[in-house]
Amino acid sequence: MRPSPPPVTRLNFVQAINAALRQSMELDDSIFVYGIGADKKSAIFGSTAGLVQQFGPKRVFDTPISEQGLTAIAAGAAHAGLRPVLVHQRVDFMLYTIDHLVNWIASWRYVSGGRATMPLTIRAIVGKGWGQGPQHSKSLHSWFAHVPGFQVVIPGSPADAKGLLMSSIMSNDPTIFIEFRSLYAMQEEVPDEPYFIRHGQALVRRPGKDLTLVVFGATVSIAMEATEQLEKLGIEVEVIDLRTLAPLDMATVLASVAKTRRLLVAEMGWLKFGAASEIIAAVCEQMGNDLAARPKRVGWPQSFVPTSPALEKAFYPTAENLTEAAKICMADGH
């Protein structure tokens, strides 16, 4: 018998994050949430709203501006078997903690010879838009994915945000969970009940036979928009949302490219030495001779995010950029 589909409610991205935190905390007393302003009215852009009222100050609390020390609390608490959720309002602030993350947390299980676990989640928000500038707009997903030991999660829609955050909190590996603030108002039908998405399972957001478009995080929505424009031109694009960079679901990407023989990858981050480059390299190593056209990347130029609205608009990749890049992929090759 086919199970009936779960009941859903239309939520925006930040409501989905909030629901994920609330339901996780209801399921497991070992989960606590902390970060600057977590228990205040502002509630980290609303993402922690109502949690302190429901779970009390022991499990939801504000902090000093001590990113390193806060990360130490997460590391030790996770080592002791709790499931901490640390929230940084900007990814950029995490750079204070790069020693803790890379030298200690990521390698903790390895160094223990596979005995220890580090079940912590770090939510970090990317301030894309509104002139956030060089120190408030970095994503750095590729940095984290470069290091063994982390799970790197970047949801592209509200339903995924809920399922991926819940599975990240309940995972026994340290997880960097990157949220684009620019997606917080995006709406989608989100399952009401607790649910979990396995890490390393890409989502085929739309099937197509002509071109594989690999995206994640903030490039998902522009990819869907570009796809509709391309459909009108008779180009059927298969959109693959990676959801997690570590673990990386190359099997789904390779299966798609085997069908389309054309590959375009878009990321909201620096292209040099980045995730898109890694995916193209891995595809070329596996099936470079089978490609019908040269693969292509869309992302940030090797420069900092400008604050001037005119420059910012020109800097970030758009649906139009993806449409143009897709046309080039289709015109290229043999």
């Binding site: 497991d28 030790g76 200690w104 299980r109 390895y110 005995r115 995924d160 998405i197």
Partner: protein, 338 residues
């Protein structure tokens, strides 16, 4: 315990270069055995301890098995960390002991485990051990502030041997007095002569009791001295970073030598000393020989331990039973242009 630590280090130092089978940097603790030995009398198995990279004494003091430690230095499967940590990141998962190679890092785990003790309402405590070099690092102050703010059951031990590697404390700190810095963070503390064993045990016992009774974090600074080099079995005094007079003065105060002389004056005690020394000799020799013959781990195994790839039981159950309703985790909602 002091003798066990001292003799283990001596045997390992003698073994290190000629055989060249321990292929990892090792920071021996000859001269600094008193603090880990004193703590060994005071800590429980469920207490969590993290030390700096001069870790051998603390590993043994926390109850870590000697054969697994030596095997770890040899990089063998029987090592306490499966051969993946070596000396600098030595740990004993079963005995709740860990250490690490980066100065300042030994506040990392104990701060959070202390948080966990309080969160769960247990009587366990956490102990962070670092050297005076950690006062050069910002994380030390941040961690102390958080421990004080949350009144965590954390015992902070600073082994002040005056040198960070080969640099004198006076060349590193504008104010080389450490205790006032800690007190300024809201943590009470004490400075104790690490070579006065009776005083050392007394001060540490009081501090452990205060922390265990929920009084918040405590700090104990143990004045001590390293007879051996910063790293490796060969002396590094040819670098002339400390005076020969200073070294001779501390050596003359060696608490292990004085304790032994004291005990040997008593016939009953001297028999016990001889017995302990013989046992230690045997244990260390056995640990070295079993480490030498144990197998190396495989790279294939090592590459597989970075991630657990597991979830809390409730999630595993969901993946098994509920997920089919979600069409294999793939929701097919079409996103609207955004």
């Amino acid at each position: 315990m002091m003798y066990l630590i001292r003799r283990t280090e001596e045997v390992l130092m003698a073994e290190y270069h000629p055989a060249d089978e321990m292929r990892c940097p090792m920071h021996f603790c000859v001269g600094q055995e008193s603090a880990p030995a004193a703590l060994s009398l005071l800590v429980q198995k469920n207490d969590v301890m993290m030390s700096h990279y001069r870790s051998h004494g603390y590993y043994l003091g926390k109850g870590g098995p000697l054969p697994a430690m030596v095997a770890e230095f040899y990089g063998k499967t029987t090592g306490s960390n499966g051969g993946l940590a070596g000396s600098m990141e030595l740990g004993s998962h079963e005995q709740n002991f860990c250490s690490g190679a980066i100065v300042g890092g030994s506040m990392l785990i104990p701060l959070g485990t202390a948080f966990a003790h309080k969160y769960r309402g247990t009587k366990d405590i956490s102990i962070s051990v670092f050297g005076d070099g950690s006062f050069d690092e910002g994380i030390t102050y941040e961690s102390m502030n958080l421990a004080a703010l949350h009144k965590l059951p954390l015992l902070i031990i600073c082994e002040n041997n005056k040198y960070a590697a080969n640099t004198d404390i006076a060349l590193r700190l504008g104010n080389p007095r450490l205790l006032p810095k800690v007190e300024a963070m809201g943590i009470p503390g004490e400075v104790v002569d690490g070579y006065d064993l009776e005083q050392l045990v007394g001060v540490l016992a009081d501090a452990v009791a205060a922390v265990r009774s929920g009084g918040g974090p405590r700090y104990v600074e143990v004045e001590t001295y390293r007879f051996c080099a910063h790293v490796g079995p060969q002396p590094d005094d040819y670098l002339e970073y400390r005076s020969t007079d200073e070294i001779a003065e501390w050596r003359s105060k060696d608490p292990l030598g004085r304790l032994r002389a004291q005990l040997m004056a008593d016939p009953a005690a001297s028999r016990q000393v001889a017995q302990i020394e013989a046992e230690v000799e045997q244990d260390v020799a056995a640990a070295v020989s079993s480490a030498k013959t144990a197998p190396f781990p495989s790279l294939e195994w090592a590459l597989g331990v970075n991630w657990a790839n597991t979830y809390a039981p409730i999630v595993e159950g969901f993946f098994r039973e509920v997920q089919p309703a979600f069409r294999g985790g793939q929701n097919e909602t079409r996103l609207e242009p955004f």
